[in-house]
Symmetry: C3
Subunit: 251 residues, 3 copies
């Protein structure tokens, strides 16, 4: 059983955070929240999304799992205005999701065929890492660093200078280098520690697409360890965590 009503804006923010990594996913319709955990085909980037029942106008579920094509679901959500309410109801017999968007002067019904969850890649176990450094910054600052790195390289280094108490987003190209420096004063907060890891830029660019520019993003970082990126959606009633495996530093 699944029967829920949610604003189109919240639904879109939630779907966007997952669709940048995978095309299909399992959605867990838990009693108290809706959750998605997925890993990209190369097992490099993971996402963990939770949307609490309180993020919905109304929410009823009893623990089922459905498989969906995310692009298709996003396309439907885009037919709504941000304020429109989207009604989602699972038909257990037909295994179809009935989606209704009510606007001021129309009712749009969409019947979406679901995907067999068993045909979707297994959900990853997200490792519980205790990372030594933690940086909180604005989505716009992360975006600036990623765009700058993209001018010179396919890789990006995230690094904390413990002495200077600065966070660095860096890239080394064949001829040119780039370094975005964020001081403690520039950041929302910085908990310094030994942290310096290299990542594939493509994955960070994809994750960055979904992160709102005004989001507070927490970056947990270590030395040649995965990075964890965390931010809230749905006015704090939804949580997105990305985890990205490091590349081995060549020097």
């Amino acid at each position: 059983m699944f029967n829920a009503i949610v604003s189109a804006a919240t639904l879109r923010d939630a779907l966007d955070s997952v669709s940048v990594l995978v095309e299909e996913c399992k959605i867990r319709l838990n009693e108290d929240d809706l959750s998605i955990t997925a890993v990209d085909p190369a097992n490099v980037g993971m996402v963990d999304l939770t949307l609490e029942a309180a993020a919905f106008e109304s929410y009823e579920a009893d623990g089922g799992v459905i498989g969906v094509n995310l692009n298709r679901l996003e396309e439907i959500a885009k037919m709504a205005n941000a304020d429109d309410l989207v009604h989602l109801e699972l038909n257990e017999e037909t295994r179809k999701l009935h989606i209704q968007i009510d606007t001021a002067d129309s009712q749009l019904s969409y019947t979406l065929a679901l995907i067999d969850p068993d045909s979707i890649r297994k959900e990853p176990d997200i490792p519980d890492l205790d990372l030594p450094a933690s940086i909180v910054l604005e989505g716009a600052q992360l975006d600036r660093g990623i765009k700058a790195a993209d001018m010179v390289s396919d890789h990006i280094s995230l690094r904390v200078d413990e002495e200077e108490e600065t966070f660095h987003i860096e890239a080394e190209g064949d001829t040119d280098d780039v370094d975005l420096t964020l001081t403690k004063a520039d950041l929302i907060s910085l908990s310094a520690g030994p942290a310096n890891s290299l990542f594939s830029l493509d994955y960070l660019k994809d994750m960055n697409k979904a992160i709102p520019k005004d989001a507070e993003v927490t970056v947990d970082l270590g030395e040649e360890f995965p990075v964890k990126l965390h931010y809230s959606i749905a006015e704090g009633q939804g949580q997105v965590t990305y985890m990205l495996a490091p590349r081995i530093q060549s020097n």
Copy 2:
């Protein structure tokens, strides 16, 4: 003889309504109005445009016919701002149309070579159908239904539910279905009758491009009959009618 002055916005609205179906057309320069009737190469979609003399700042004509390349004429009209006046004058000897756009600080003259009207596809006879149902809705509502149908199919069904007094824009895809329901309260007006016809979505998408989102569109409909779409331009002094042949329903 043809000598007329018209606002760029009115000229563009008029040309757009025809150019979505055909690239070349005959323009009839009647004494009391300018009119275009055209059918697409596959004989599926027709357009009938009338722009009354009152829609012009000044209008003089004596019943001639000219052939024009619509894309070219639209490109010229786009050089003007919406409020600019466009002066059109036919040179009978050279068979060229002299177009002048006066702006605040320039005079743009364009000499357009005309096309021999005999080389252009014959104008269609638009059948005078008495269709049992008539719906009046906003261009934006039609647009929403067409965009929704386009997510799942190449065909679109327009249907009136006489009992519920609702108008349905529907599409059936291989796995997914979509239905935009407009109640009598959602519509500007509904005159119910037996009406359910299937159409090629491509044609409706093209016609939809020309229909202003805030236009009042009258949809005349029957059972497996052509649909007539009608709206006004030039503050009521111009009329556009589209007619689209039905597809045979497969069930």
Copy 3:
């Protein structure tokens, strides 16, 4: 030695004026100004840019010459907001240009590898022509004429009618003709003289891309002579001059 600070907007306007013609150029770091002179590979279009020391927040230079990839430098300048200050500093030893963009909440450093100036095409000698006609118009008027000409031809004619005291931007296509007429009243100023020359439209389109729509553009013109286009940037503390060789008129 080169150490300067300039607003991102001024830097971008300066670079744009050159990059429409060439990809690489020499920058002369003179004591009192920064200057670039370049000619396109076909030796048809030239540009001469001067940015006075007063256009910078601070400027120190001693006459060196550096070679740069303009596209790369523009890409970096685009990372800044219009009001951001860009700090440029030459490292004589590494032959790299250190670029720093300070925003409200980050410091972006970019280390740009320079190009050996000897590997860049020789700077042209810009001929000192005494042209008989001079027209001053708005960038937007020139833009309108160039766009109109582009509808019908690959060539564009610039002509002064001495008797009527009008300036004409004209093009003759295979079937259609276009003429943008600017009267003395439409222009900022007109000093009439014998002037009628034909140009390749591609070059003028490229130059037009860099000319701000609200710039006052001075057009110096003769009979089958090069045209000189001149405008100011950086609130008058920068000067751009284009020179374009004529095409031979076919009639």
